[in-house]
């Protein structure tokens, strides 16, 4: 009986659960995003996260002052439910599916961060390889202001451009929309400027 049991344990060790709790392959991840897009389309909606910020403005009462925020919020309950689910999904992944290994970024990126005196996933355990806690934290004004500034840029830019990564880079491109392609090129112009010309100075600030 014993050898059979051992075999069973071994099979479980490399089983589905381990595959799901380890970091996902990019191809599987891309497939899962497509599944999310399909489910939303099937339910008659489209995949777009940043519009939820406009919904939150409406809930905060901005509609009384600015007409742009005056609309029937009931039409948007689905989106608020979706982003609420995204928070729960993050909670589930953190508590029940945590990966045993740190985020495995490339050696080039890690060496670059080291030359800047920055943390990298293995060195900043509290950040889980997700958030560099020396940049974004509650313990310094810099940490709070950077978080706030980044948020303002994202919120302003997405509404001005009518969409973010989900709406333009995925949904828009998949619908072969030229405006989305140009917007994504804009994402990269801004992203490259920040990464190469601004971030190195913010880090040492």
């Amino acid at each position: 009986m014993l050898p059979k049991n051992t075999l069973l344990l071994n099979v479980q060790d490399i089983g589905l659960w381990e595959l799901l709790t380890g970091p996902w392959h990019w191809a599987f991840s891309g497939f899962m995003i497509t599944l999310v897009l399909f489910l939303l389309v099937w339910m008659g909606k489209s995949f777009g996260v940043s519009s939820s910020f406009r919904d939150l403005c409406n809930l905060a009462g901005a509609g009384k002052k600015v007409p742009y925020f005056k609309f029937d919020i009931k039409e948007e309950y689905w989106r608020l439910s979706f982003v609420f689910g995204a928070i729960i999904g993050g909670f589930i992944a953190f508590h029940f599916m945590q990966s045993p290994n740190p985020v495995d970024i490339s050696v080039e990126t890690r060496n670059y961060l080291v030359t800047l005196g920055m943390s990298y996933p293995e060195s900043d355990l509290s950040g889980q390889g997700f958030v560099p806690t020396e940049l974004f934290n509650f313990s310094s004004w810099k940490g709070i202001l950077l978080a706030l500034a980044g948020g303002i840029l994202v919120g302003f830019g997405t509404r001005y451009g009518k969409g973010c990564t989900s709406g333009h880079a995925i949904t828009g491109l998949a619908h072969l929309q030229l405006p989305s392609l140009i917007t994504v090129i804009g994402f990269f112009i801004g992203g490259l400027i920040m990464t190469h010309f601004i971030l190195p100075y913010l880090i040492v600030l």
Binding site: L39, V41, M43, F94, E108, T109, R159, G190
Partner: protein
Amino acid sequence: MKNLAYTLVGIVFGITMTKSEAISWYRIIEMFRFESFHMYGIIGVAVVLSALLLFILKRKKFKTLEGGFVEHKGMELRPKRHILAGSIFGLGWALLGACPGPIYVLIGNGFLIMGVVLIGAVFGTYLYGLWMDKLPH
């Protein structure tokens, strides 16, 4: 009850974003430094598969649960606006290492500082609404 279905899809999205590491600041800087294929792989597969899927759904006149066909409300082509708005968003994306989806997912992962980011994003959205008439569109 129907909104519960959207919450369930959101949960799948939140888990996907976390396990794919797309919510990682380090993955985003790596992408903008062109030092890994990871993020390009995720977005590339998602776009190609979604494009195929949407093409088939439109072709087969697939009916959604709400009874309509699959369609996309395209926006007017305004290159200057797209580039300008996209760049502003890109600055924030690369700074935070997070776009709107990951902001929510990271809050769920326990990073409460992302709540400050969310407040900033809502405020930034408010600023757009406030100034939209004065902006070039």
